[in-house]
Symmetry: D5
Subunit: 141 residues, 10 copies
């Protein structure tokens, strides 16, 4: 443990976040996501929900301001499904951690999987909410 | 995720618990414990407290009934310190998971470190309570 | 050994089942299957038959309910061959472990091999029945 | 699978048995034995009992005829315990596989552990009988 | 050394033969074959000729009876070359080890190389006869 | 790069600092120190001086308040040498980063080497000042 | 440290520069470059700016005189941006280290990334200037 | 060192030459060749010139007599350049080591690089002559 | 295969013999020797007898002339056993390969094992003669 | 190859020299020295003599001026042997590379071996002179 580093950021996760550069992406995956299968680099966070991790990560992680949407969500499969409540939680966390507005784009499930394969890393959480998977694209400092 | 397996038990931790045999010991260490330094095998559980992990582990893990005390705590350094409150939490968890009484012995800090070096594994949690380190000795089935 | 974990589930197999996510597949292969050749990840279960392993696995493993058939068998080569008796055994095991009906689809031998190459893992058993190979697709919890 | 090789002998176990030389020892350990902790080389045989493995191994494995007892058992802890029934099973298997009489010596539990540490390999079975651990010393051909 | 296992079968070779499944192929290559270059898995047998190894291997190795020819030879480069004498040796060994007739097909040199690249393993012998390379396809038991 | 993390803290160094626990020690070594020889874990910081690294490390790193002196310097070889000026720099940096007084003990050169061998990590800088090596003992949070 | 070797050249960097041959390229990347993601071989130089490293490298490193431009810069995204000031610094360093004129070509950002993927190595600095990434192509001696 | 083995053949180089088979190629590269970048297997011979190594290698290495030219040189870039003098040295060495005439073919620089990528090994010498790179194709014994 | 290298010397064995220096020892072990257990470096030569290997090795390998006996045999256990016939074979091979007389010393079995543990390498043959194990100490060139 | 780096210094050797610190030792060993056996880190320089390497190394390598003799030679075995001529070569090289006088101490053969075991690295040359082994102790810059 170090001063000023949240305890849910493991040493391996911190190292991963630091190594990432402009345009690299990280997936924070829910408990059912095939993370071990798709990840180029896998960081486990068993037993954790996504919102608490997202908070800790955004404390350090600059989002990419060069693209229209530095945050990507997995689209609901049925278009008449209502908006997943966890997306609002994400919105609030993003607003709290950035002094500018952040757009979240949506991506179809299979496309989301392909994108996850190319991400720098995938964090495997135990989040149980539906449509909770989220991709962050790193910006510059 | 699997049916009936608590989400705070990571795949690596489950494998470790299964590989252990009669008399092997596992340390559940708090956030300040030098776990990475002392561990023969290290299992990280960053961001987690010990009581929740202890519950999940004891659901599967048989304690050794061949020894006077299958559970070991780190002794308070000053003998006039009052009993750490987390020990009572442990007591309650142990009672809930076993239908017989479990003794918890105490061990001086430096001896505790030596014993941790020989343990089969050390779990590095982020528990912040004082005197929260705990060693479990595995029994038979 | 742990309380509540069948002894024919090895630590490595349990870890593998836990790491799999939604849509990942596992092949339980018979004794003549070229498992070592095709597997991305190989889990050996020498000396075991498939039905006993299938029972133990399904105790933990959720099948995918998002697809028409979460279970795949290798098609008999000659269409006039009679239905392999072990398929009925599988049917019964699947019914006992799920409270909803499970469809088993059939796949031509060479296609089955290609699919096995992409599976998350292959379990190499010593099952001696004909047409006993079986693929399970993991669902969500 | 090969012609004439029992299916409960895994490729890794066969390789191990072949590599051993005169005087090298192998432990066939029961399900509660701390095999993973003590083994210089670990061979897993989850889900198997010892007698069936012993039969298959002795089909290939020459016992050492240069020592008084090429087979070692773990002594019962209380001397008034009756002789473990599985020892008679072992006796019968040993007689069936050798055309000369084989002595089985007994060794105190802690000494047995020390000896297991120096063995060439330990096979981790799921045998549930008491006092079932057995050490074989390899002879010459 | 084990009872009943020929001494020219190394532990690594035995493990390899056991791991192979239905349809997997093994190349027994002569001393000039680019084995180290082409092999996915290389098993060295320096100083050995092919016929003696072939005998030992066929004692355990079932040939594939599902294909027209489970044995493949490298075609002579000039069609007017006479039949390499070692092929008759192979024929005799194959007859002695199987109670049914085994066909040996021939394959052009460059095609043979491509096939060797996909074989499960290549055994590098020191055989000095011309056109002595031979591929065996594994069958079922 | 992350928000709030100094750029002279490499990802590997941050991971190392996070993994350390109560009582673990880290050596910040000058350019002539035999760091590669003595280190259990080596972290290179070529081209950097020690004071700038010390500042960045102390921003995160809690010093041990359970011991008389959580900071150790290498004693001057000749006792009549004057106090190395860099020690005053260290004193100032330590004061700026802690709101309580920090004692720095001195240790004879060969003893210092022995202690460095047991440290959790050694950072190899290019510091050119004399007697600049410094050991930090980690405290609790 | 060695006589005549600048301290900001780490042992690993020197080894890398020595291993490179005619036509091989090295990228000196700024602090936001996705170096860890793109590099075939990554050399970290956290906390360092590019000009100081460039000076030290060019002291040893011959530039390719067989191509029109042995140095490549990342083009400004908006063509009306003014010339990045660090390019002049580079120009001066290149002039000081070579007794012939060196051309610097510019490359569009995405093309630059593709080229970086094929480079022999990428050095990850903490340079904070805009458009500071630079590729050097090695010449002959 | 062994009797009859030249001292400029390192153990690793001898092992490499022995492992090569009919048709496999080895590149003896000059000091500026991008050997480390292109080599599937790299053998370093820093400080050595090519002619002395070529002599030692040809003492053991049979050239391929099945192809028109078992030796390949890198073509001069300008066709009006005169024949590089080291080629005559090579010619003489080849004549001294073989009792039949050896043809040396020439290959354009970029094609030569592609071929080097597929060679079994590349030896990185410090040869300073121009156009000194040479490829040998192994024959049979 | 190379010109002038016997085919029973594998690439790995040749490399090993070349790496050895003055005073280093190699054990040529019979088929029952616990070679895999005792060897710091193991070289397998399954299916081979010792005399043929000894011949090939001595063609290259200088024996140590600085010690009374550069060759060591394992003493017969019973002193009234007659001299093992293979020793005379060794004597003859040694005479044929050296133009000076070579002494062979004998060493008690357990001492021989200890010495084998410290040898540079052990060659595991399938020699079936009694008391055939032999140690060679390397000399200078 | 780099400007100003002698070609007989391999990339690995340069990296090794740079990593060494004050008091670390490197052995430059002759062709018969048991370098591979004794070395903690082995750097091969097959085909090279020691004087040429010594020259190149001393161009960069500072000798330790804190000890009476930073250079150690292996004592002649017979005290009446005359001084090995290569020692005078070493003396001259040392004088040419340092502007102060360097003492060379002598050490008995077995002690020399023990010291070599603890050296940071051993360079295995093919030097054929007697008593040519030499140890250098690194100083400070």
């Amino acid at each position: 443990m170090l001063k000023g580093i949240p305890v849910n950021i493991s040493p391996e996760l911190m190292k991963t976040l630091m190594e990432m550069g402009h345009g690299d992406e990280i997936v924070i995956a829910d408990g059912n996501f095939p993370a071990s299968n798709l990840a180029r680099k896998l960081v486990r966070a068993d037993g954790h929900s996504i919102p608490e991790l997202l908070c800790s990560i955004l404390y350090f992680f600059p989002l990419d301001t060069f693209v229209p949407a530095p945050v990507t969500l997995m689209q609901t499969v049925n278009h008449d499904e209502e908006r997943p409540p966890i997306w609002d939680t994400y919105n609030e966390i993003l607003s709290n951690n950035n002094d500018f507005s952040i757009n979240m784009e949506q991506m179809e499930r299979m496309d989301f999987y392909e994108r996850a394969k190319n991400a720098y890393a995938i964090i495997a959480t135990s989040e149980s909410s539906l449509y909770a998977n989220i991709i962050l694209k790193k910006g510059v400092i």
